[in-house]
């Protein structure tokens, strides 16, 4: 009987081709949207972790309270011994110190007078640690020149560098304030320029060695934040929360300068964003099921009306209503499987393309402070394909179930009568 039903289904294009086409298109769109949103989420997590949050971060209690202001004057000083201890306590995490600071950059003319001035956002990392350099993909981000090798060298954002019409190896002066509020200024040589692909950083960022920043800001042996990264480089909230609880239970107390560990999801509303994105993914799936379900229900209803004669005939031959109904569901399932597989296969092709080439999202993010890469790559994962296939199957079965209810609502003799109409 299955082969019989399948033959009928394949030969009747209005029952197979068009529904399959609808499911294919729906699954393709869903699979792609899920892969895109998942890629977007991962990009956001990755960028935030690299530049702003780490997978984990240790800051002082006082700093944590004003985290968004990056108040380095509330950071750590002379914490080499403590840092050593934290590394020993959590050897699976890779730790690195950073200082974020703001300053005024003064560009002198040939005679040493101020030519231009502008605000800059400074990020100081440990250039002696190759991992710290690779964390922010510095080599890939380098546009001109080289990574600083000696004290007093900095990298400038390419955008700012071009805007101020600077030259490599020229000197600029940073003016700021020390940890204690005293005025501080220091000359730096521009060793190169960078573009991270994050507009928030590329607008006016500088990257310097942490020892230079410590000297400039009078923070000996200090850091404003200690970043921690999980060994595989992929954020795992469960693992991170466990480490955070352990650390805070051991080291955190009421003191303003007591160390406090924060997870990525505790910062920049990332926890909310991730939950929101997860919810949005679920919503897309549900909406897809509803839309395609309604379309297929409609198609099924029209088909059922067209097929009442056939149903009447089959009932007259001794087939039972529930048997007929079950076969309608099997037909729906077959369409769902076929459409979903084709949709998923096509979707995989499209996802694969954008997984390699990506979307240039820079034009949409250039005026925002969101930590998102300019190029978003779709996330090619089996999980995303399955998420698209499941609603494809559910919607076709649901559509068939709804459409087939008419069989039970119609009297057998009435269906039989419709054979003649």
């Amino acid at each position: 009987m299955f082969l019989f039903v399948l033959k009928g289904l394949l030969r009747d294009r209005s029952r197979s081709f068009f529904p399959v086409l609808i499911v294919t298109a729906g699954v393709l769109v869903t699979v792609f949207l899920i892969a895109f949103m998942s890629g977007y989420m991962e990009s956001m997590v990755r960028q935030n972790a690299r530049f702003d949050t780490g997978h984990l971060k240790i800051v002082t209690n006082a700093y944590a309270e004003k985290l968004s202001q990056k108040p380095y004057d509330l950071g750590f000083i002379e914490t080499e011994a403590e840092f050593q201890q934290w590394q020993e306590d959590f050897p699976s995490i890779r730790w690195t110190p950073r200082i974020y600071f703001g300053a005024l950059m003064d560009v002198p003319d040939a005679e040493g007078n101020t030519l231009e001035q502008g605000d800059v956002f400074g990020m100081a990392i440990d250039f002696s640690d190759p991992s710290a350099v690779s964390d922010i993909h510095l080599s890939e981000a380098l546009v001109q020149g080289r990574i600083p090798e000696a004290a007093g060298e900095i990298l400038l954002s390419e955008e700012l560098f071009s805007k101020l019409q600077l030259e490599l190896d020229s000197t600029v002066t940073l003016l700021g304030s020390t940890l204690y509020g005293a005025m501080s200024f220091r000359n730096y040589i521009i060793s190169g320029t960078v573009s991270f692909g994050v507009h928030a950083l590329d607008r006016g960022g500088i990257v310097t060695d942490i020892e230079d920043a410590r000297a400039f800001l009078d923070m000996p042996g200090g850091a404003s934040e200690y970043f921690g990264f999980l060994p595989l480089g992929v954020y795992d909230d469960d693992a991170v929360q466990e480490i955070k609880q352990e650390f805070n239970a051991k080291y955190n107390d009421e003191d303003d300068f007591s160390p406090q560990m924060l997870a990525l999801t505790d910062q920049n509303d990332m926890g909310f964003m991730l939950r929101y994105m997860g919810f949005a993914l679920g919503l897309i799936t549900v909406v897809f099921i509803l839309i395609i379900g309604i379309v297929l229900w409609n198609a099924g209803l029209l088909n059922s009306i067209r097929r009442y004669g056939e149903f009447g005939l089959r009932l007259a031959m001794g087939e039972r209503k529930h048997h007929l109904y079950n076969w309608l569901i099997v037909e729906g399932l077959a369409i769902g499987v076929l459409g979903s597989l084709i949709g998923a296969a096509l979707g995989m092709g499209v996802i694969q393309y954008f997984h390699v080439h990506g979307f240039d999202f820079g034009v949409f993010t250039k005026d925002t402070s969101m930590m998102v890469e300019n190029i978003i790559y779709t996330n090619l994962e089996l999980k995303n394909l399955l998420l698209g296939i499941i609603p494809g199957l559910v919607s076709t079965v649901l559509g068939a179930m709804l459409a087939g209810i008419g069989i039970f609502h119609r009297n057998t003799a009435k269906l039989f009568k419709e054979l003649e109409t």
Binding site: M1, F4, K7, G8, R11, D12, G309, E310, G312, L313, R314, L315, A316, M317, G318, E319, R320, K321, N411, T412, A413, F416, K417, L419, E420
Partner: protein, 232 residues
């Protein structure tokens, strides 16, 4: 005395309408013996199709009693009436009602698939049925490739393939020309003689009536005449 395949006593069927109901059948008594080749005749609305539906267990009476193949129709549940139809009753329709996406062979095969008959037996039965109606050569054709007469032959083969005891034919020649009508009637009469299958026709076609051994005339749901032709 010949065994009755269908026993009808004081049968009535009332269809509910806004004005209190339409009585399609009333006080009907009828015995149809095994092997009969008989017709229910009468004008439109006389109750022929309603009676055929009740005999075919597709509908229930609202009064009286009817026994088909030893089963009281109103006591059968959906499963039992479906089983009775599947095994023992065949239907032939005015407009053939062949499923257009299937071949002639597959259309005839359908009733046997519902009976879950093994493939080899199924093949033999289908070929035999097609042979009866003389369209073996058309077994791979689709219904839209057949003439009206051929289509009705397939419909007869489909009704006969499971070797039913009773065949109900509702206006089987209404869409056929004279020559095809006679061919079809000859075929059914031959099957009736060869297999002893009971045929009940609902018709007002004189050509069909001429072929009947017995003609029951219905008028306004009541039996007006019951003519048994001698020498048929």
């Amino acid at each position: 005395m010949t065994e009755s395949l269908v026993k009808i006593r004081n049968l009535s069927k009332l269809y509910p309408t806004g004005g209190g109901g339409f009585l399609a059948l009333s006080e009907l008594d009828l015995d149809i013996p095994k092997g009969a080749f008989m017709g229910l005749v009468g004008p439109s609305g006389s109750g022929k199709t309603t009676l055929l539906n009740i005999i075919g267990t597709l509908d229930n009476q609202t009064g009286g009693e009817i026994e088909v193949l030893g089963h009281k129709v109103d006591t059968l549940d959906a499963k039992q009436s479906a089983a009775l139809r599947a095994q023992k009753i065949g239907f032939i329709f005015q407009s053939y009602n062949l499923l257009p996406v299937y071949t002639v062979y597959e259309n005839v095969e359908l009733p046997l698939l519902l009976l879950k008959m093994p493939r080899a037996e199924r093949h033999e039965a289908v070929m035999q049925a097609l042979k009866w109606v003389g369209i073996t050569d058309k077994r791979k054709s689709r219904p839209n490739q057949l003439s009206g007469g051929e289509g009705q032959r397939v419909s007869i083969a489909r009704a006969m393939v499971k070797r039913p005891l009773l065949v109900l034919a509702d206006e089987p020649t209404a869409n056929l020309d004279t020559e095809n009508s006679y061919n079809i009637l000859d075929t059914m009469l031959q099957i009736n003689k060869d297999t002893g299958t009971t045929f009940i026709f609902a018709t007002h076609d004189q050509k069909v009536i001429d072929y009947m051994q017995r003609v029951v005339t219905l008028i306004d749901g009541k039996k007006a005449k019951d003519d048994l032709k001698t020498g048929s």
